[in-house]
């Protein structure tokens, strides 16, 4: 009898733990990883500030700004927002639709350039 009761208690405990740490209850990770990412975000923010402070120009400036921006955004989404540990279905549902925005950005860049050329030809030249 006692054994059965004991095993039931253990079973309940395990079920409770899995509910605590499983997908339904939430995300539980060691504190260290958050502190590391926190420090990295500070480092990369300082880097992007230094790009401006040292007045870097041209291709080097744009590529460094984009690189630091993407690293910071990736760290925030993957670790702070726990996307790294989510189910692949949720990752796809949230991360794929924004790719459509790249087309918008591309089209608007073309359109903006066209407007610039038109204005330059009509008003400036």
């Amino acid at each position: 009898m006692n054994d059965v009761a004991a095993s039931e208690t253990v079973h309940e405990q395990k079920a409770h733990e899995s509910a605590d740490q499983g997908h339904t209850e939430g995300q539980q990770h060691p504190l260290g990883i958050y502190l590391w990412i926190w420090a990295l975000l500070f480092v990369f923010s300082t880097f992007s500030y230094l790009v401006d402070y040292f007045q870097l120009h041209g291709l080097l400036r744009w590529s460094l700004i984009i690189l630091f921006m993407l690293v910071k955004a990736g760290l925030i989404v993957a670790i702070f927002m726990h996307m790294r540990w989510e189910r692949l279905a949720l990752k796809f549902a949230i991360l794929i639709p924004p790719l459509a925005l790249l087309i918008l950005i591309g089209l608007m860049a073309i359109e903006g350039t066209h407007t610039f050329i038109t204005r330059w030809a009509a008003f400036v030249r």
Binding site: H23, G26, L31, Y34, I65, M69, A73, V77, A89, A109
Partner: protein
């Protein structure tokens, strides 16, 4: 984790691409996460589209204008002890927002550890940092409007579109931070009253965290494209 899930008497969910197909095609809840989390992610997805529309229209007017674009490095410089330090206030604001993201991440962690006092304290610290961010933004706006003469329809430094893009983008972001501060205070109060202990779940703290990290995420893009470009 997968083995843990099978304890409840159900088979472990499939992984990889078959997992995606099974999650979507099964006649059941699509995302095996707290509903608030799924809803918050979908809201943040829509917000991503809104902010991208703002940043894209900013890109469009900046490309298409024939007037020179004001140099943000000079416009947002602070004068301290007779020296001009470029973008100093913006750098401080960036650091404040990153610090608040860190305290929020820790708050979520302590929430799941059922540590009520630490969770509430860290959430309030996050809210305080957010409020100071908004305060610095108010200072920046005042400086720009009063001292630099920037208006949504024009400014003395160059392209007229600078003001409208700046006020629209940073204003909408500031609104998000302000709303987040209120949101954090409401949830922190519920943490303190033991609401989530009675409910048996601290998932709401994580959902609040998602919103707050998103606000930080948007700032990363604004910082890169508006202030550094």
């Amino acid at each position: 984790m997968a083995q843990d899930a099978s304890i409840a008497g159900q088979p472990a969910p499939l992984e990889g691409l078959s997992g995606v197909a099974a999650d979507w095609s099964g006649d059941k809840q699509a995302f095996p996460v707290h509903w608030g989390k799924a809803m918050m992610w979908i809201f943040l997805l829509s917000d991503t589209f809104i902010f991208t529309c703002f940043l894209t229209s900013y890109m469009n007017v900046r490309i298409s204008t024939t007037a020179t674009w004001p140099d943000p490095s000079k416009v947002f410089a602070l004068h301290i002890a007779g020296q001009e330090i470029p973008l100093l206030l913006i750098a401080i604001m960036t650091m404040v927002l990153i610090t608040s993201s860190g305290t929020m991440a820790l708050a979520v962690n302590y929430g799941y550890r059922r540590d009520r006092a630490k969770t509430m304290a860290l959430m309030l610290a996050t809210a305080a940092l957010g409020a100071s961010f908004v305060g610095m933004q108010a200072f920046e706006w005042t400086n720009l409007i009063v001292n630099e003469g920037v208006r949504p329809w024009g400014n003395p430094m160059g392209a007229a579109q600078f003001g409208s893009a700046f006020f629209m983008i940073t204003g909408f972001h500031g609104l998000h931070v302000s709303a987040g501060v209120v949101y954090l205070c409401v949830i922190a109060r519920r943490v303190w009253t033991g609401f989530y202990d009675r409910k048996g779940s601290y998932a709401t703290v994580e959902v609040t965290g998602l919103y707050w990290h998103f606000v930080d995420l948007v700032w990363v893009f604004i910082f890169a494209f508006f202030y550094l470009w």
